[in-house]
Each structure stands twice: as structure tokens, then as C-alpha cells.
Point group: D2
Chain length 439, copies 4
Amino acid sequence: MFKPAFPGIEPVRFQGPTADALLAYRYYDKDRIVRGKRMEDQLRLAVCYWHTFAGDGSDVFGAGTFDRSWQRGGDAVQAAEEKAASAFEFFEKLGVRYFCFHDRDVAPEAPGLAETNAILDKIVEAIAGHMQRTGVKLLWGTANLFSHPRYLAGAATNPDPEVFAYAAAQVKKALDVTRELGGENYVLWGGREGYDTLLNTDMKRELDQLGRFMALVADYKNKIGFKGTLLIEPKPMEPTKHQYDFDAATVFAFLQRYDLTREFRLNIEANHATLAGHSFEHEIAYAIANNIFGSVDINRGDTLLGWDTDQFPNDPGELSLVLRRILLAGGLGTGGFNFDAKLRRSSIELQDMFHAHVGGIDVLAKALLIADRMIDDGKLASLVGERYSGWNAPFGKQILDGQLSLSALSERVLAAKSEPARRSGHQEMLENLVARYVF
Amino acid sequence: MFKPAFPGIEPVRFQGPTADALLAYRYYDKDRIVRGKRMEDQLRLAVCYWHTFAGDGSDVFGAGTFDRSWQRGGDAVQAAEEKAASAFEFFEKLGVRYFCFHDRDVAPEAPGLAETNAILDKIVEAIAGHMQRTGVKLLWGTANLFSHPRYLAGAATNPDPEVFAYAAAQVKKALDVTRELGGENYVLWGGREGYDTLLNTDMKRELDQLGRFMALVADYKNKIGFKGTLLIEPKPMEPTKHQYDFDAATVFAFLQRYDLTREFRLNIEANHATLAGHSFEHEIAYAIANNIFGSVDINRGDTLLGWDTDQFPNDPGELSLVLRRILLAGGLGTGGFNFDAKLRRSSIELQDMFHAHVGGIDVLAKALLIADRMIDDGKLASLVGERYSGWNAPFGKQILDGQLSLSALSERVLAAKSEPARRSGHQEMLENLVARYVF
Amino acid sequence: MFKPAFPGIEPVRFQGPTADALLAYRYYDKDRIVRGKRMEDQLRLAVCYWHTFAGDGSDVFGAGTFDRSWQRGGDAVQAAEEKAASAFEFFEKLGVRYFCFHDRDVAPEAPGLAETNAILDKIVEAIAGHMQRTGVKLLWGTANLFSHPRYLAGAATNPDPEVFAYAAAQVKKALDVTRELGGENYVLWGGREGYDTLLNTDMKRELDQLGRFMALVADYKNKIGFKGTLLIEPKPMEPTKHQYDFDAATVFAFLQRYDLTREFRLNIEANHATLAGHSFEHEIAYAIANNIFGSVDINRGDTLLGWDTDQFPNDPGELSLVLRRILLAGGLGTGGFNFDAKLRRSSIELQDMFHAHVGGIDVLAKALLIADRMIDDGKLASLVGERYSGWNAPFGKQILDGQLSLSALSERVLAAKSEPARRSGHQEMLENLVARYVF
Amino acid sequence: MFKPAFPGIEPVRFQGPTADALLAYRYYDKDRIVRGKRMEDQLRLAVCYWHTFAGDGSDVFGAGTFDRSWQRGGDAVQAAEEKAASAFEFFEKLGVRYFCFHDRDVAPEAPGLAETNAILDKIVEAIAGHMQRTGVKLLWGTANLFSHPRYLAGAATNPDPEVFAYAAAQVKKALDVTRELGGENYVLWGGREGYDTLLNTDMKRELDQLGRFMALVADYKNKIGFKGTLLIEPKPMEPTKHQYDFDAATVFAFLQRYDLTREFRLNIEANHATLAGHSFEHEIAYAIANNIFGSVDINRGDTLLGWDTDQFPNDPGELSLVLRRILLAGGLGTGGFNFDAKLRRSSIELQDMFHAHVGGIDVLAKALLIADRMIDDGKLASLVGERYSGWNAPFGKQILDGQLSLSALSERVLAAKSEPARRSGHQEMLENLVARYVF
């Protein structure tokens, strides 16, 4: 129906570590078995619709720089269909099995919600056709509750309940559509759920509103029998001064406070982690430790810059430690690695879209292979286990079991003849050990 | 018994806004009634023992610069007694009613815990005498679980249960002593409760240890009938790369996770807030919104520097908004404003100790007066109230009461003929309004 | 010709510190004499065209929210004329004597440069008329070398000399126009003069290009007899990862390296200072110390956020210290205080434009009055002077005059019987002293 | 004379990439020829005396944790001799050819400078003996002008000329000693050369003092015929709020301002670069572009923490790009890679000293091998060269040669029929290309 968006670009294939071509996978060999699963099934890679097909290279200081065949205007619905066709051409050529989208990425907004929903249905039908044709699947859907001016003061946390209602209506539809397309998760990112200034903000009230909204979403999800996972995506700032979903811990506090821990898990984004002052691995570890890990938006930030740069990942060393944690915790479940990453504004060629994703995918594949070796080898786990061995001995267990009071512990120390032995944390040795797996 | 530590320095007195003397209060008029209480009772100001009497002006790059009469060595116990006498001379001359201390600030550590406790008892007895003599009271006590090398890998979160036991013994004693001295709160700051590297860390296990420790503390507090409030003090980094008590939200998540919300509240520090990427007011507002606000460590950081500079507060505008929140939430309760602030390393004169505290106290007093006017005037509250008025109308209430599902809300929006009205957030106007109270 | 843009909004007038109206000046009394000049002549306030008339409230996460009469489309040239009329209506009602603009703020870009220049001429003619009619003057003009996609890899530092040429042509025209309108300065802000990645960057070459560009600008300025000052505006990041004009010191290094110190001075922006890790006062002090201070873009950032928030100033205390420095250095010269500040995206009412500027102006006026008192009082200057008094004594002078070698100084120390005396830096006392002027 | 400090630890040897032992070099094969020189001669690795032999594991929150045989007190001179013996045992076992020191690292301070110098001479004699015996050489010496309280307000920038004199005397001696020991460079790091608050600071005066100081150092260097390179080490903060040597650009501005560019080059530290908001590679590139590159303090910071963590390097990818730049600029000259890095406070075992350095050395060796391949391959250089090719064509050359004025360039653009062509910056492709060399 539409002309190819990427003429002359061949499907990207695995060619092994010594491949000379830049548009080839050196490590991503999707059928290779790693820890009992195909690499593709371990990594569950997804392309995002927003940056890759709705982005135009504009930034706060300048106009769009990309010249994409699917963004050349004309009839909005037809353009959305062409965008969908282009997206699936890209997914196929890249060889990635999942994608993610916001409602407004795939279809334009019309004057009223009813009409907007009708257009969305039409495009979703086209997308369903592409999915069937290509086998590409939906990792998750979501609703854009931040771009339209109506959300200038938030969606669920808006001072106006009519905006809450609008957001509710939009999420209802996005959940319907996600279910229709067989989406495996549904994500709630708090777009403008935060505040610009405390001077005009009633924080308690807004948090209560957000708690109610999430409860409604969970109710509706169960009512329609959506089997996917509900995910909240933490982010500390941007666009508001303070986003309520600051980091994993803040969301965990919120979920507990509003009794939502059974219904929601987290979609951790690497760049949002570093904006919040945490390493990416920290956020993953925290989510796993508290049993709320769900999925990953994989990108990287620039820790010397103070905003979400959403660059493609390029550090297999860091990611191997993250993957090791995820594998040891049982793998991704319904989650995946979604490339919430965008081309630099100067990367204006169509080929750059491929370079960026191919690089990111290969980094993850390499990281998976490293993680696999770390786990097989077992040295890291064994050194950490040994460090805490006292807690598996009787005295440690008694403490954790609550059998020893402060007084009892005090008696023990007063009776002791010596200080506790001091042991090295061996940080540098462990860093060297990790380096051996990585390079 | 000891020679005066501050000879020639007169007690600091209220002299009114036009005072010429630098060592005079311009705003802090302790008996002035503000919102129904004496200023002293509203602010509950405290001097900290550690920076002010145990600090010597050293930093990571250089040796101590202060030459204090109570730090000139000799017999350690006698020196501690002289330090106590000097401290109370200072409290009296400053006219502040509270102080705070760590066990190791007031008394030195001896080779074994039994002996250390005995020395502590002796000094505490001297302190009790000073307290009785002067009427100065103890805002809170705490235990130093971070300076001694035994805590190099944490206290409660140490990989070695023997260190956990030592920390337990130390906290038991510090609680005993705090109760003896009539302390109104007991603070737990997570010194080295965090990790330097995830490579050697079992986060889940360490959080479980910390949860157990806090439960033991609460049990013991109740057992001995300590009536004060237990407080946890959030801090994001320093000395470890990641401190488990990162910020108010993280501690709230932890308290809920380990079922401790009934027993603990927060001691919010201004500089710890900014290190975590939050405004001081944010942390206070979050704690109040979630009903875990307890007390304040009042200082300021330098947001262009990445560590805890612990400077004295100097911005009555910012603090007036904080005080307004606290007053509207019912005041400080058992909490107070503790000056966890230290002299700059170059401020080597004894008079500098007074300048620093007098400035900080006056800033808080001025801020209290501003807050009082803001509340009396009511404009800020009324503008915010009006902004959320829709949530007090029937539709808003129905949403919050759970009477409207996503589907019901969607029907309403689909039926509506128009977009929600957009209203200004009026940030700049509100900033100007605040400026009218401040300058 | 056009309907009023701000119907129903009265000119803002000075009403004194107790004014009740929010749209009134409490401190800005333009004819009041401060340090020998009218307040208006001391502060030389300017409104910026870009944020205030070209901005629409959009951000990276969402569409524009402002609904301005002069932004409703139609014929581009006519719209630009309406914008100009609206701008001057605003300047007059606000009572501000200067404005600043980029070429593309005032007039749209047409397909070719010749046509673009022709449109610009037409609008400039209209602006000249408004200026004559109202007495409003041009503080500075500049060229937008960053919004158009042609500048995606920089202007003068572009890898393509054709883009350098385009930038040169644009600056030539902007200089012509600035001279025509009697502009008192011309500003060069390095839009995209920096790099996104060192991987594709030849830094030495790009710096040479930039040096050449600046030399051409100075040559042309002299050729056409433009009497204003050439100003470079430092900024550390945004939009590129690294902007070559990182901060005042970096620009000073550049100016010296390319022998441009006689021709260029600095336009210091408050928010750019803090993004570079410096206080605003630091950048001003550095520029003054090195004799390159020129003008000020006055706004504020949020040091807890990592991007240019461009908020209106609200801290008279900080600004009083800055103004004190500027006054002591002889005042603003041809420079001024340009409000390079934008409304928050939620401040959608026309009145918010006034609230924002009125607040900022009053903060500067208040700061000027405080600075005046500080200087009159002389205590700060005297304390600092006294601190360095040794350098005015013979020994200090001999050192600075180069009469004493390392060996001679060493001999002196070896012969001395004592350590140099240590003196307090009195930071807290000085902070308290400043507080006395401020609140 | 002294007992071995590292009994039972064998010299570390190259064992190749598949080595199993953790205390073995996998990549550092000192005699391997890389780009025409032995690896040892390319990298010129140095161990620092301060962290490694004078550090005790203390931090701002706690006491020292290391228990080193050479730090157990007793006679200070004898202890310094034992420290020296231990240091050279370490250098030899590690197989590193250079070391660096401050005067006060190697010898203690006595009551007066004459006596202090005498002790220093004695220890330097011992060190000279060790150097002769082992073949270990001195990369650079320096003076500690920041630890002693006399420097609380700076050394050369002190408000008191007597302190300036003391610093001068100390540097004179340190230069003498460095020359005696055949040091190949002399470093000036601005310890406390900065300010804590602008309120008590005369920046212009302090910069003039610093300029004078540096001129005296250069004079003395030439007088005594010291052939090494004088190096200034930039750092942005810590210990003062603002250090005058903020970053490479700031130092370059200073050197030009005080006419010192012929005498000084830069010692770039990786962690100081990131504290200043720059990548390490940026600072190296800037120094090379401006012909002031001298030497490197190699460590890493943690960009999520706001202070100098001084960790050992662990990223061969980043370092390979740095090494590539240095090699392309002609190599290190008299400079080297000095490990200004310290063990984590928990790394208390003697073996941890080896683990840390072995890891760092291997990372640099690996990076060197990668850089070598990048240069041989030439693809990066060729892509960058091609990007700027227009500047080597006649039009580009004419611009740079100053043959084309703004007017001439404007004419060209006005005459042109089209926009400059836009070309991709290919950032992601280049990142992938680099990844091919690295992993």
C-alpha cells in the first residue's frame, strides 16, 4: 500500500563478533540458547514508537531535523497508517519481536474524544494486521497524559476533576486497545503528575487523587480480564519540578500507602534512575529486593547533563551486572527491554535509526553473554554469600528471628572480650573480577 | 570547677530589628507570643554537641584549626567534663533551651563497652547537673554508629551479626541515657547503613537486618517506658555511596514494608533534602502529607556543591514557607529545630560560634513572624483552596469516594461537548505574593 | 492598527512598599535617585522578545499552552507586525525602557535569505516607529543561529564552511539592523557552538573557526561604525553536550587565545552561571576582576534541576551583592539587566506576563536599594580591606612588585621565629551583616 | 633494615589475558612494543605516595581503618624511613617505574621550617638510595600547601603575605628536592587556592597574588636549572567552595592573563574533570587543542556523587579514547599516568593495595592496546577528517585565512540558490564503531 520507508536497507542479521559490516549483529543471535532460553526470549527487546516514529529531531532550541517519509503531512489518518507500515517495516528489518506505544503516538487526536477513539480504533486495526502478518508483538501500551495542554497541571493529580475524568477515559481506551492487541503489560508513566511549585500545590490531596486513579485502573484491568502486568514508571523530574514517582522507593512507598502492591510493579528506566541520583543497577536491585520489579526502559543518560538524554545503551559491563540480577531473580517475566532511546538530533539519516538500535541490541546481547558466564562461574555469588555467612549461622538467625532483644544483645557485647573482627569489603578485587568477564 | 570557656562574651539578648550590635537578637524574642505560644516554645531550638563541641575544624584536606579550651587533651574524662561545662556555658549565653548529642560526642570511647558505658554514665551525671542548674533540656539523644572502624561496613546492615549486636548494645545504652536525661526524642541516623558497591552487597538481606534492628529499638523503647518519639533521619549519600535512608519517601517505604509506621517519625535535615535532589520544603511537605513528620535538623547546604556543607540557615523566605507548613500541621510536637550546622573551617574565633548561632536563630525567628503573617492573612491558603475547589464539589467527591469507575468517567467525557477549562497556575503571582511577606 | 493585546490592563505604577495591588511596583520608582542616577538609569531594565512574545508555553513534553492574540497565525508578516505592536504595548504598560531581540523573534524566515532580510527590514521599520513613538530603546540585538535545522551541527563551528557563511550573513544583517535601531550592544550567544560527541569533533579546528568568526564580527562592527559593545554570553550545556562558551573563564581564555579581548565583553546570565557550577555572583565577580564585564541576562535557575529553567529572579539578597559589585565597578555602562526569563507553562493568562515582570523588576529595585545602603555603610568593604591590609604594607607590596624571589622569601621564613598568625575568615558574621541590610 | 611490609606477596607478573590469578597482569606486558615504544614507556605509570602510604582510611565520618606496619607511630623520622622502605617494596612488587609525592607525605613537619627541611633532607636521602637500588624514578614532586592550619585561607592567595612567603619557602624546598631526585615534572595543585565565600574575598587581588607566585616558581625553576615541566592541576571545588583552578579552560585563561603559558602545562585529573562538569576526555582534548597538555592523574569519580572519590579507573573504553588522543598528539612527553586513587575505606587488607593498582594498570594497558588498534585502523580519524573536508577546500581556507569579510560571505549566501546540505553527525554509528574496538 505504501512505498517502503527504508528502501535499500537489508534486514540486519547475526554475523558474529568479527563481522565487518556495521549493520550486522555481532552478539545478538536470537536463537542461541542462553540459560535455557533463546536469546530473544531472554531479552524480549522492544522498539518504542514515540521516539522512533513520532520524534522529529526537534529540541527546546530548534525545529525538527528528520525528514521521514511517514511524517510528511497530508491526511492525518492516512499518515498514521503510513507510519504504522513504516514502523513494522523497521521492526522486521531490525528483527525485533516487540514494540511499545502511547495512544497518541500511533493515531492523531481529533477535536473530541469520541472521534479520537474512532481514529485510534482504525489505526489499531491496521496495527493488528501488521502484527499478525509479521509476528511482532506488543510489549506494552500506554496513554499520553502529558502532551496535550489540558494536562498542563497534571492528569490524575490535576486540581480539576474534569481533567482526572479525561485522563481516566483515555486510560480506559488505551487499556482496551492494549488488551485487543495482546499487550503483555500496561505502563503508567506519570507524565505531569507532580508539581511545578509547592506554592499552589496540595500534595496530600494530589497523592490521594493519584492513589484513587491507580485503584480505578486496577479495577478496570480486572473487570476486562486484561492479563498483562500493570507497571508504574518512576521518574524524578522533567517535565515538572518534582514528579511524584521520583524513584523506585518513592513509588514503593506510594503503592504501600494506597494498598496497591498486589496490582502494580515497576518499569525501571535507566536514565530516570541516574536523574534520581541512583545507578541503574540500584533501581533494579531495589525493585527486586522489594518484589516489585516488572520491566525495563533501556537507554542511558549522560550523568554530566541534567536531563533525560535518552541515549542508546553502550556499556555492556554495567548491563551485564543488571542482567545478572534479573536472571538470578527469575528473568523478565512479562517484562522486556524497551529501547526508550532517541537518535541524536544530528543523526538525520534513515540508516542512523538502524545503527542506533543495532548498537543497543548488541550491547544487551553481549551483556547477556557476560551475565551468563558470571552466573555459571559463581565466584561473585560465592564471595558475597561468604561475606554474609554469619547471618546464616545460629546467632545471626536468632537475631533475624526476633529471639534476641536489645538487652540480650547488649549483654553479649558487654561479656565479649574483643571487638568484632574487621574484614575487607574487597571492592577493588571484585571490580577486577567483574572486569575479567567483561574485557 | 573549670575556667569559663567564653570569657568576655555576654549573654545574647533581644534588642529588636534596629539593634546595632552583631551579637544581639533582632527577631528572636523568646517570650513573644506567636500563634498562641511563646516563640521559644514554637521553635524549640537546639544546639548540637557534635559540630559545636566535638568538631575541630578539620576536613578531608587538612588538620583541625580550632583552638578550644575544652579540646586541649589531658585526661579524657576530665576533658569531657570540661567540654560539658563549656557547652552549657554556651547554651546559657546563647539563650537556647535545648541541645542534642551522640553518645560519643559527650564521652570518649574506652577499650571495652562496659568501661565506655561507665564513663558515659559519669559524664551524663555531670550533664544532668548542668541541665538542672540551667534549665536546658535534651531535645534528643542518639548513638554514633559510624565513626569507629568497627562500623566500616555499617551497623545494623553489617555483614557480620556481631557488629549488629554491638550497635544494638550501643543504642540500648544511648536510649537509657536519653531517657534518664528526659530527652524528648531519640534519633536514628543511618551513619553507614548503606553500601559502597553493589558488588559485595545483598540489599534485601541488609534491609531485613535494618527492619529487625528498628523493631528491636521500638520494643526496647516501649519496654523501658521512654515516652519520647523515635525518629529516623533520611540522608542520601555520604559516607556511603548509597544510604538506605535516601529521603523521606524511601524511609516511608521502608517503615511500611517492615510495619514500623506506628513507632517512627522523621527527623528531616535541610541539607540532606537538597543532597537528595529535593527542596527542604518538599521533604517537610511529604512527611506531613504522609503523617510521619517529627523534627528538623536545620542547616543549609550549598546546592552547587555535592556534599553536606552543614552551613547555618540564612534564608528567612524559604524557612517561612516551611514554618507555615509546620504550624498549619499543628506545630513541632515533641520535635524542634536542631542546628546541625558547623562553623566554616576558617571561622576560628570563639565569637564565631556565637555569630553563627545568633544568625541562624534570628533567621528562624524572622521566618516564624513571616509565617504567622501569611497564615493570618490567609491569601495563600485561600488561593490554593480555590484551585482545588472542584474536588470538594459533588463530582470530585464521587471520584474520591470510589463511586465512579473508569468506564463511568469515560462515558462522561465522551458525552461532554467541550474540553476542561484551563486555568493558570499563577506561579509568578504567588511568588510575588510571598515576596510581600518576606521583604 | 491592531486591537490592544492587553485590554483592561492598566500601566503598572510605583505605589510604594505598602501597596496592596499585586500589579504595582513597591520598590521600582524609576525617577528615584540612587547613587547619583535615576533608578531607571542604574538598572537599565529590558524585556526579551523571545520568551515573552515568541514563546508559546510548549516544552519537550507538550504543546504550547498560551493563547496570545499575536500568535494566531494568518499572514506571517502581518502577524509579526501585530506581535511588534503587542510587544510595545507591553513595554509601555510595564514602564520598561529597553528590549532585546533575535532577528528571528521579530520576523519570520522566508525560503531564501534575501527574502528573509527583506521581511526583517519591513518589521524593523515598524519597530523603529514604535521605538520613536514610545521612547523604548534597544539594549541589544542578536541573531538566532540555533533554531533552524541548518545549524544542527553549529554555526561558526559547523563542519561545513557553507553554514559558517550563512551564519556570517545572518550576523551581518543583525548587526546592521541593531545599528539602525540604535542598539547599545550586540550579543553573540553560542547557540549550538559546541559538540554533542567528541567522536565526530575536531575541537581545535572548531575553536579556530569560532575565533575567526568573532574577528570578522569585530571587523564588521568597526567598519560600519557601530558604537555599541560586542558581548559574548557564556553557557555550559544545552543544547549541545558541551558549549564552547562554558563560563566566563572559558570565554576569557578563548578571547585571549584569539586576541579578541579588546573587542568583546561578557553578557553574564544568572541561570547559565549556576548550570556551570558557579554562583551568579561568582561569574560577575570574575568578569569584573578580569575587566570583561558587559551586561546581564537576569533570571534564576533551579539548582536542583539540571537545565535552564529561566525563571524570574526572586532573591533580593543575592542580587544586592551582585548589584553592589557592579556599582562599585562603575555601573552597567552600555549594559543592562535583560529579563531572559519565561513564564511557567501553566501561567497561561496575559496578566501572568505582568506579574512575572513586575515581580522581577521589584526584586531588582529592592536589591539596588540594599546595595546602595551596603556601599554607603561601608562595613563590608572595610572588613574585606582590612583582611588584606598586609598586602598594602611594604612586605606585601614588595612581593607583588616582584622584588622578592622564592629564595628571598624562604630566607625570611627560615629566619622567622613563629608561624604566621591565624585569623578568622568571619564568614558567618559577614553573612549576618549582609542579612541586616536585606531583612 | 625494616621488616618487609608485604610479606608473602609475590611480585605481580604479566600472565596474559587468560590468567587465572587475580594478582597478575593480563594486559600490562611492560616490554611489549606498542606504537614504537615499550608499554612501560608509553604509559609511564606512577604510584602516589599520599593515598597509598600516607592515607589511613579515615573519612569525614570516621577514623582510619587501615592497619599498616609503617603507620604504627614511634619516632617520626624512623617511621618516615620505614614508610619509604615499604613504598619502594610496593613499587617493586607492583613493577611500576614511577612515583609521585608531596613534601609532607614523605617526611613529617617539625616545629619550624628549618628543622622540617632538615628532616625532609634526611628522608630524601633515604629515598634517593631506594631509587638507585630499584630503578624506580620520580614522575613529579609537589608541596602540600593545604593540610596545615596556616593555610586555612589559602597559600599564595592568602590574605596574609606571611603565608604567601611560607608557601614560597615550602615550594622552593620541594623544587630543590624534586630536582635532586631527578623528578621529571613539578606539580602545583591549588590546595586551598580559592574562596569559601565571596563576602570576605578580593578575587582580583588573590588572582594577582597567584600570578605572582607562579612567576616566582618559574623564575626559581630556571635559576636552579630544573629541566622538568611545571604543571598546574585544575580542580573545581573541594576543599574550598570555588577553587581558582576550576578546569583546564580556567587555568588557560589564568596562564594567558599572567603571561605564563610558556612555563606551565596542565596535569589533568579524571575525577577533577567530572567534578567540573566535563568528561575526562574533554579536558584532555581541550588541553591538547590549546597546547597545554602535560600529564595525567588517573582515577575515576562517581558522577552520582558530588565529591572527589578518587577511585581506581575501570573503564578501558573511555580510556582508550583518551589514550588515542594523547598518542596522536605525540604521547606523554615528560608526563605520565599517576594513580591519584585511593582504596575504599573498607578495603583494609594489604592485598587490596595490590588488587586496586593491578586493576588500574591493566585497564590502562588494555586501553592502550585498543587505542593502538583504533589508530592503525584509521576509520575514526578518516570519518572525522571527511566531516571537515570543506575546511580544507579553497572556500574554507579562504575563510580561515581571513580573506572573506562578513559582507563577502553575506553576498555569497544571498547569491546562493539553496540551503547548505545537511549531513548526519552519525553519533550512534561512531559509538558502535568504537564498541568494535573495545568489546
